[in-house]
């Protein structure tokens, strides 16, 4: 429970710091801290796989991408001295609406339309404690992904292939003007002969 509070407080504080930080690089770093804390929360919920994926995807890919973009754009620190309170009304209203929607959704009964009028007389008592086969999330996911859902897995791999081809098609120039390195020639270069002393 203490861990939970630690993670929550850290996540909230660093979430606020994302917005408040003057330096965009700091703000992205705080964002990474938020992600780390939320993945800690996910671990506490028992969702180990999701925590892992969360870290890999958000911190490993997206946040690093943000960092690159921020560093390359080279925004000066002085430019971000705007009045924060100006955005408070609109942002506050949107936030309130969002909170309200979430409460509505949480309140809503999931799986509502299936008729579940079970009378108590038919219910029999089963000791479920003896029937538990404990599988971790990873085992379950692996078992499902490679058996029942192998088709979806294959299609996603095709999607990745298309992304790869697309990135190459859209960026590679096939003209002769482009300087390109030939891996084999570079590997074959002898270190002794690269620099020569000219007398």
């Amino acid at each position: 429970m203490i861990l939970f509070y630690v993670f929550v407080v850290l996540a909230l504080v660093s979430g606020a710091m994302v917005i408040r930080a003057k330096n965009p690089v700091h703000s992205v770093l705080f964002l990474i801290l938020v992600f780390c804390n939320t993945s800690g929360l996910l671990v506490l919920l028992g969702l180990d796989f999701f925590a892992m994926i969360f870290l890999v995807v958000y911190v490993g890919a997206i946040a690093v991408l943000f960092l690159f973009v921020v560093m390359m754009l080279h925004i000066r620190i002085e430019e971000i001295h705007e009045n924060v309170l100006r955005y408070l009304p609109v942002g506050g209203i949107i936030g309130l609406i969002f909170l309200l929607e979430i409460f509505l959704m949480v309140d809503n009964d999931y799986i509502p339309i299936l008729p579940t009028k079970l009378s108590a007389t038919y219910l029999t008592y089963t000791v479920y404690a003896g029937k538990i086969h404990s599988w971790t999330n990873l085992e379950t996911l692996g078992n499902l992904l490679y058996t029942t859902y192998f088709f979806l897995f294959l299609v996603s791999s095709l999607i990745l292939l298309v992304a790869l081809i697309g990135a190459i098609v859209l960026t590679m120039h096939k003209t002769t003007k482009v300087k390109r390195q030939d891996v084999f020639i570079q590997n074959a270069i002898d270190f002794q002969n690269t620099i020569k002393k000219v007398r």
Partner: protein
């Protein structure tokens, strides 16, 4: 599993493997110094066409496997998917026939775009036979990723890059909406399989007010909006003219032919089979009216050919949605007939547009005096334009007639009325083509290169079918009737 599923999936497996082999072939040989970096577009094009044709054969031979749920209920094969797949592959093959000559003329050395066209064809096959929300979403995503890339494939043109970027952003948006809808449906029913959804939704009324669960309503709404984005129905059509104009002409042809078939087939599967309900009917009703009106009015102001064709395809989507919003067997049948004829006409028009190019055939006014320079082509174009407009003996009239008839049959008089009025209005700009060709004297006389053999054969076949369809329509009727029954029974 192994004796049935892989046997039934053999066409798709073959197509994927052929595509990957083609990709490797292209990558290895186009970078080889020994052969002096060959462009390979023509080779890959012909081989791709061949593999699509073989896939058609494989699908056609697979007909004894009448009805089957494959790979753990993720895909389905029945008569509907069977005919849709053959039809889709035929239209892809005709696009590939058109592109053989195009790449040579444009000196666009990108065999990758052919590989991407093949991959997206494969994804559309999966989309037609998808039987699960996740499988459907993945197939749509695969298809749209291929499309973003080939829309931007002509990199030295700013228009093409802009088209690709625009398509990417809006397409990603619509995919997000679609996925959100799917997750809502999953959240409120706990089921993603179409059959189980159909069982849940029979006898369950999703009304907007007094709903038992507004979440399901929202989910269906979001899914519908995502689909309408993809087929460019009106409130969600903004990207279509820009993307169609900007991307290379062959890609435009592909965009306006193949995905219409697959997405409409998938929509029929989702909405008629799973969520059969009057709720979405109003939505499609509205979209149908709006796209008919906009397709008719906005196309009048266009001077560029591809933009005009984009608006005309929006209008035709409106006509097809008439059949959809009827929701009756006649409606579905007329929709299927309509899309068959639409694809025929579109193949024909794009073959002509691709054939008429000295440098670039961009404005309608460039057509001037085509009647003198190439009278047969002028007659062909005017036949197609009359057919688009729906002048009686031609095929376009038949499709519109059955659509309006279906609308009258289910009591949607407003739809039929607006359809007739807008098709009269749209006659104006279709017939403008004819006027420019026959009666305008151009300032500069343009002589076009003679077209290649493949395209001329394609033109000949499509013109034959457009002109003489009304004499012998019964096979198409039987097929579409069977498909519609297959979906509804």
């Amino acid at each position: 599993m192994f004796e049935h599923d892989f046997l039934a999936l053999f066409p798709e497996i073959f197509l994927i493997n052929a595509t990957i082999i083609l990709l490797i072939y292209g990558v290895v040989f186009s970078t080889s110094k020994k052969y002096d970096y060959p462009p390979l577009v023509r080779n890959v094009g012909w081989l791709g066409l061949l593999s699509v044709l073989i896939t058609i054969l494989l699908v056609a031979v697979g007909s004894p496997l009448a009805v089957a749920n494959l790979v753990y209920n993720n895909l389905i094969i029945d008569n509907f998917t069977y005919f849709c797949q053959i039809f889709l592959l035929l239209s892809t093959a005709s696009t590939m026939v058109m592109c053989l000559d195009y790449f040579k003329q444009e000196s666009l050395n990108a065999f990758e775009s052919i590989v991407l066209i093949l991959l997206s064809t494969c994804s559309m096959l999966f989309m037609i036979s998808a039987y699960d929300l996740i499988a459907m979403y993945l197939a749509i995503e695969l298809q749209s990723l291929c499309f973003y890339v080939i829309a931007a494939s002509k990199r030295d043109s700013e228009f093409s890059t802009e088209a690709g970027l625009k398509y990417f952003i809006l397409g990603a948006f619509s995919s997000g909406i679609l996925l959100f809808g799917c997750s809502m449906i999953y959240g409120f029913t706990g089921v993603t399989n179409f059959e189980e959804l159909a069982k849940i939704f029979t006898g369950y009324e999703i009304t907007l007010f007094g709903a038992q669960s507004s979440g399901i309503f929202m989910g269906i709404l979001f899914i519908a909006v995502g689909f309408l984005f993809k087929i460019t129905a009106v409130p969600f059509h903004m990207w279509a003219p820009d993307v169609y104009e900007g991307s290379p002409t062959i890609v435009t042809a592909f965009f306006s032919i193949a995905p219409k078939i697959s997405i409409l087939a998938n929509m029929l599967r989702v909405f008629i089979y799973s969520f059969y309900d009057p709720t979405w009917q109003q939505l499609f009703f509205f979209c149908s009216i709006a796209s008919m009106i906009l397709g008719a009015l906005a196309a009048m102001a266009q001077n560029k050919v591809k933009r005009l064709l984009a608006y005309s395809s929006i209008g035709h989507v409106g006509y097809l949605l008439i059949g959809f919003s009827c929701g009756t067997i006649e409606g579905i049948q007329s929709l299927l007939i309509g899309i068959f004829i639409y694809v025929l006409m579109t193949v024909n028009v794009f073959a002509i547009v691709l054939a008429l190019r000295q440098n670039r055939f961009k404005y309608i006014a460039d057509l001037g005096a085509l009647a003198k320079t190439n009278p047969i082509l002028a007659i062909t174009l005017s036949i197609t334009m009359f057919s688009y407009a729906g002048i009686p003996p031609l095929a376009g009239f038949c499709s519109k007639f059955y659509l309006f008839f279906a609308a009258l049959g289910c009591g949607a008089y407003l739809l039929a009325l607006i359809g007739v009025v807008t098709s009269v209005i749209s006659c104006f700009y279709y017939i403008r083509f004819v006027k420019i060709m026959y009666f305008d004297t151009p300032k500069t006389w343009v002589l076009y290169k003679p077209m290649d053999r493949e395209k001329s054969l394609l033109l000949a076949i499509t013109v034959f079918f457009i002109t003489f369809f009304f004499l012998y329509p019964s096979p198409l009727f039987l097929v579409t009737h069977q498909m519609a029954l297959c979906l509804c029974l």
